[in-house]
């Protein structure tokens, strides 16, 4: 435990976490500091491309095996199942409607790629290796949770909501959303071009990565802080508790899956992180179309305002520390 806390404490003083805090504080202090939308998108494109490419190169080097398939299946299963746990917890801890609870549950079954990227940067900062294919697992975990959530809504009868607006077109949008395509595409390119490809673009992909992540987390802090400011009073204590407990539940499930798969400590930490993280890009957009009556302020504030900072500051360092102990 002390060991975990020490490692976690060290992690708080990295430029990345401090940049997130700076953004949070600036937003809460109502500074007008903003990151232009195009710059934020550019940085996320860069991060997705870099992380996907690195994963692909690492698979090209270490080979492609049955464990990759098993990890993908485990990820998909987690994404399908976690929404049920989240839904049950929300119904117990909060007075949320079934519709809102299902929408929130979809976010917690899915994943946050920035949380994942931050975890890889913590690992690399500590010199811990991980399985390159974990980025493919991340991509595979984005969408299944949406199915579970819609099933939960359909079963609950949904009270005030009209029919669910789920069609082939929305599936197409979800499965081919920008980040999945970029992540998987870069992964494949990395896998195909391997080490020679990496040699050509290494000084673009590797060197500036952590610095870009700093500025990106600054923006995330700004956005999260503005969201929290706007959403004051929207989340009761039960919802706040959920926002902290659910990632712990997710991480535990991820740890179980990772141990069963026999992942390395680094891979284990990433699997915990994925399961513990909550989506705030792909799933919200899908929910706006499929369940427009669900309140976005609830799911965005929980996911980005509570769980994301929790994972960044406390979660990831703990998951890494735990993974080293139990996976070591």
């Amino acid at each position: 435990m002390t060991q975990i806390l020490t490692i976690a404490g060290q992690n708080l003083l990295t430029p990345m976490i401090l940049c997130f805090c700076l953004g949070l504080i600036a937003a809460l202090a109502r500074s007008e500091l903003t990151i232009p939308e195009a710059m934020a998108k550019a940085m996320s494109i860069y991060l997705l491309f870099a992380i996907g490419f690195k994963g692909g190169v690492s698979v090209a080097e270490h080979g492609f095996d049955a464990q990759l398939i098993a990890a993908l299946l485990a990820g998909v299963a987690l994404s399908f199942l976690l929404p049920f746990a989240a839904f049950a917890m929300l119904r117990i801890l909060t007075g949320m409607s079934a519709l809102d609870a299902a929408a929130v549950a979809a976010h917690y079954g899915s994943i946050s790629i920035v949380t994942f990227v931050t975890a890889t940067s913590v690992l690399s900062g500590q010199g811990i290796e991980s399985e390159g294919y974990m980025v493919a697992v991340a991509a595979a975990m984005e969408a299944p949770a949406i199915v579970s959530a819609l099933w939960l809504v359909a079963r609950a009868g949904t009270g005030g909501a009209k029919e669910i607006r789920m069609d082939a077109r929305l599936w197409h949008e979800i499965l081919l959303n920008g980040s999945i395509v970029l992540l998987i595409g870069a992964f494949v390119i990395g896998a195909v071009t391997g080490a020679p490809g990496m040699a050509r673009i290494e000084s673009f992909i590797i060197s500036p990565f952590q610095g870009v992540l700093c500025l990106f987390l600054l923006d995330m802090g700004l956005v999260a802080g503005r969201g929290l400011r706007g959403a004051r009073g929207i989340l009761g204590p039960g919802a706040l508790a959920f926002g902290i407990l659910m990632p712990i539940v997710g991480a535990a499930a991820g740890a179980a899956a990772g141990l069963a798969l026999g992942l390395s400590p680094g891979g284990l930490a990433l699997m915990m992180t994925l399961a513990a993280s909550a989506s705030y890009i792909a799933v919200p957009a899908a929910m706006r179309v499929a369940l427009p009556e669900a309140n976005p302020a609830i799911y965005l504030t929980l996911s980005l305002g509570v769980t994301f900072p929790f994972n960044l500051a406390i979660g990831i360092p703990s998951y890494v520390a735990i993974a080293q102990i139990i996976g070591g």
């Binding site: 232009p36 969201g227 957009a285 179309v289």
Partner: protein, 102 residues
């Protein structure tokens, strides 16, 4: 110059619904429209700005200039899309040059 009476319909809608809206318009035969970016706004669902947005989809403003007689079909189509969503629809009388284009 010669101008012709027309309607200017302005639909402010969530960006994820844009393509559904424009397809609905096209289905009713409305093939002319222009999409403008929106920086932020306020309504019953509160204030927002594009830069404080997660994913930053935000909203867009879709403007259609149409002949008056096609207004009803357009509104029906638009309404079916926006009905359950946040956003607003307004219709203004206007005049256009080059009526043969509409």
């Amino acid at each position: 110059m010669q101008t012709h009476a027309a309607k200017r319909v302005e639909i402010i809608i969530e960006a994820p619904m844009e393509s559904r809206l424009t397809e609905a318009l096209e289905k009713t035969g409305v093939t002319g429209f222009t999409v403008l970016p929106v920086l932020g706004g306020s309504g019953r669902s509160g204030r927002w700005t594009r830069e404080g947005q997660i994913g930053r989809a935000g909203m867009v403003s879709v403007i259609c200039l149409i002949r008056p007689e096609r207004l009803d079909a357009l509104l029906e189509a638009a309404f079916a899309v926006v009905e359950r969503h946040i956003g607003v629809v307004s219709v203004t009388d206007t005049h256009v040059l080059r009526a043969e284009r509409f």
